[in-house]
Amino acid sequence: MGLEHQLPEVITTRLETAVGWARKHSLFQYPFVTACCGMEYMATAAARYDIARFGAEIPRFSPRQADLLWVVGTVNHKLAPFLRRIYEQMAEPKWVIAFGVCASTGGFYDNYATVQGIDKIIPVDAYIPGCPPRPEQVIDALLKLQEKIQAEPWDKYAYEEKMRQREIDGIIPAPPLFQRPE
C-alpha cells in the first residue's frame, strides 16, 4: 500500500489492542434480511458505499462462520425462534446490529404480529434508526461498533467470563427453544 517505508521496523503494542484491531477489521457478516431495509444493506455492501473498506467484506451465509449478525428488517413472532437459533449458532465473539427502525423497536408495526425490537430476543450492540436508513448511517454504526470492538476487553466473550458475568447479573440461561409436543 505504499505505507511500508513509513512504518518503523518494530512495533510494540499490547496484546489486547492487537486482538481488538484484528477483530474490528475482519468482521464476517451474516445478513438476516427480512424486509425492504435489505436494499439499503445491499447498497451499502456494493461498490458505491463499499463496506469492504472497513473490513466487513464477505457476507457469510452460514452463521457458524460469521462474527456480525445484521438483522435487517421486521422480525415477527413467527420468525423469532429462528432468529434466536441463528444467533446461538454463531461462534463467540459475536456482535449484532439492529438495522432499521423495525428491527430496533418494531417501528410502526405496533401490533400482535411483530416483535417490538429484536433486543427482546437477542442482545444488540448497535441500533440504526431510519426507515430505511441511508448507507451513511449504516457506515456510521459500523464505525461505532468498530470503536467498541477495539476498546472492549479482549476476553469479554470468553465462555468462562461470559458465564461469570451472567451469574453476577442474575441472568438465567434461556430454556431450550423447540420443545416437541408429547
Partner: protein, 183 residues
Amino acid sequence: MAKKLIDFVQKKFASEVLHTHSRLGNDTVTVKRDKLVEIVRELRDDPSTQMDYLRTITAVDYLPRQPRFELVYVLYSMKHKHMLILRVMLEDSDAVAPSLHTLYGTAGWQEREVWDMYGIRFSGHPDLRRVLLYEEFEGHPLRKDYLKQASQPRVELLARERDSVEEFNIYVNDRPSSGSRDQ
C-alpha cells in the same frame, strides 16, 4: 356489462338472492349460504358468464351487527373480462360456509387464510389449518374483538440483555486512552 351478471344470478337463483347493488362498477350480489356452491358452479360453467378465475376470498367483521361476518368472493372471467362480487352473511354462532375447493384450486388456500384471520370454518375443506400464523396461536387476529397489540410470543422474551449505549460509553467514551485511535 353492467347488471348483466346480477340479472343472471337473480334469474337462475331468485330465491337465494338477498340483496344486490352495483355501486362504483362493483356488481355485488348477497346470497344465502346454502346454495353457494351451486351458484358459483353455475357462474363458472355457463358459457355466458365463464367465471373461471377466483380472484380472492376474504371476510369482513361488522362486530356489533348481526349477522356478524360477511364472506366476500370476487369472481372474474378471463374470457369475458367481467367481475362479480358474491357476499355471504354469517352469524357469529354459526360461522361456517361451504368450501369451494372442488371448483377452484386456489380456494383451499384462501379459505385457510380466512380461517386463520377470522375464524370462519369451511365445511368440506380437506385441510383447514392456519396458513400465516403459527399453530400455537390462540384466537383470530382480524376479528374486531381481538386486541390488536395482544402478541403471543413463541420464545420467552428477555429483558434487554445489553444497554448498547451505556456499553459504548463505558468502553469508548469513558476510556479515551483506548479508543479506536490507539497509540
